[in-house]
Amino acid sequence: MRKLLRKEMRLAASPLSYLFTAFGLMFLVPGYPILCGAFFVTLGLFQSFQAAREANDIVFSALLPVAKKDVVKGKYLFVCLIEACGLILMTASVLLRMTVFSGSAVYRSNALMNANFFALAAACVIFGLFNLIFVGGFFKTAYKFARPFVIYIIVCFLVILAAEALHHVPGLEMLNAFGTDRLGLQLGLLAAGIILFLLFTLLSCRKACKRFERIDL
């Protein structure tokens, strides 16, 4: 799998996938719907799927001495790596806002959702949904990606909207905890987000492997 990941990184990936991980730093922007940063990371990944299709990457990979289903796993591994890079930058931003910048007026008077562990959990859910809807959808045919991407965009922005709106619902204000307030709850929500990410990704990968075996390339 390491060789396939290296092949993904060297040959199939669009430079934009790497560059767009920097949108993880959008978690530092005050007064902005920070979860858009997660969407932009996946937008960079979409560019790699586009580049890979133009380069006949899927057939090339299927001809390498690997099992056909490993081609799918290699793609998921690359996607998860990029998402992890984005998440690392988001986590660093959240930690900075929780500690060093905790007294900053622009963050304290933030009109939109705070960068906390709940926001990170929501980013994990967005990445999981990208893997489930877009990557899984792509491997139905291994070349059509417009429809799964449009569906993913709609779902992604509904999630962003819900995440931004939830803390305005009476009783859910704690979702917007600032800094280290309600830390136990925040960490619990983050764990739930990570579990959902893993669940969506594993389910999607397993299904994509089965589908890909049946596809004529």
Binding site: K3, R6, K7, R10, L11, A12, E54, A55, N56, D57, V59, F60, A62, L63, L64, P65, V66, A67, K68, D70, E213, R214, I215, D216, L217
Partner: protein, 239 residues
């Protein structure tokens, strides 16, 4: 027997590959001939698990392809005519990546064929002519000590000199015990170097024999192989 294809069936809405069976032996060159759309590429893709047949079995080295794919692909080489992979990447980078997958990658053979085909590693596939793309694909197929070479239209797009060179390479590989299986619609290629002929017409194997037996069985007095094939194909078309 180094490879065996048994009862391959693949149905498409407008085409059916019907009960294709044949075998390949070490040190033999098999020419797989048929007109465009006869089922050559579908057969080859099924042999490589790129296409999933509706029924039938493919095995290499006594192992079924299903379940032993990675192991088998280490020992076979495949080239696909003029398809270009990663058109904007440097050939050097493509080769470096491919090389890492093969346990038996042979740098000496790689350099020999690279020089013979005059491939400039600093170029990208986009900068290559159609003929040079064929050569690049062949270079990748020939550089890892493959025991079976499966080549889809390897001579199409090549100039007569390069074609001749390639047919000579086939003869050398044959002497080293490699089984060469190549599809073509250029009958003179088969005439020049094939030991066995596999003739496919409208999705069915119409004839499978050694070249000598093929001529004995199907050629009429004074006919060249090309005349025979044209007559047979004409007969099939009017059947």
């Amino acid at each position: 027997m180094i490879a065996e294809v048994n009862g391959l069936v693949k149905k498409y809405p407008s085409f059916t590959l019907s009960d294709v069976s044949f075998s390949l032996d070490r040190g033999r060159i098999t020419g797989f001939i048929g007109r465009n759309g006869a089922g050559k590429t579908t057969t080859i893709k099924s042999m490589l698990n790129l296409v999933r047949p509706d029924s039938g079995k493919v095995s290499f080295f006594g192992l079924p392809l299903s379940g032993h794919e990675a192991e088998i692909k280490q020992r076979i080489g495949y080239s696909s005519g003029t398809i270009s992979w990663y058109p904007r990447k440097k050939i050097r980078d493509i080769v470096r990546s491919v090389k890492s997958f093969y346990e038996a990658w042979d740098d000496t053979a790689y350099r020999r064929y690279r020089d013979l085909f005059a491939i400039d590693e600093a170029k990208t596939p986009l900068q290559l002519s159609e003929g040079m793309k064929v050569k690049l694909n062949l270079l990748l197929a020939l550089s890892h000590k493959a025991e079976v070479l499966i080549l889809d239209e390897p001579t199409s797009g090549l100039d007569p000199f390069s074609r001749n060179e390639l047919l000579e390479i086939f003869a050398d590989l044959k002497n080293e015990g490699v089984a060469v299986f190549f599809s073509t619609h250029i009958i003179s290629d088969i005439e020049k170097c094939a030991d066995d002929i596999l003739y496919i017409s409208r999705g069915r194997i119409a004839a499978a024999a050694t070249k000598e037996d093929f001529v004995r069985q199907y050629s009429e007095e004074g006919e060249t192989l090309e005349d025979t094939m044209l007559r047979m194909e004409g007969g099939a078309a009017h059947a």
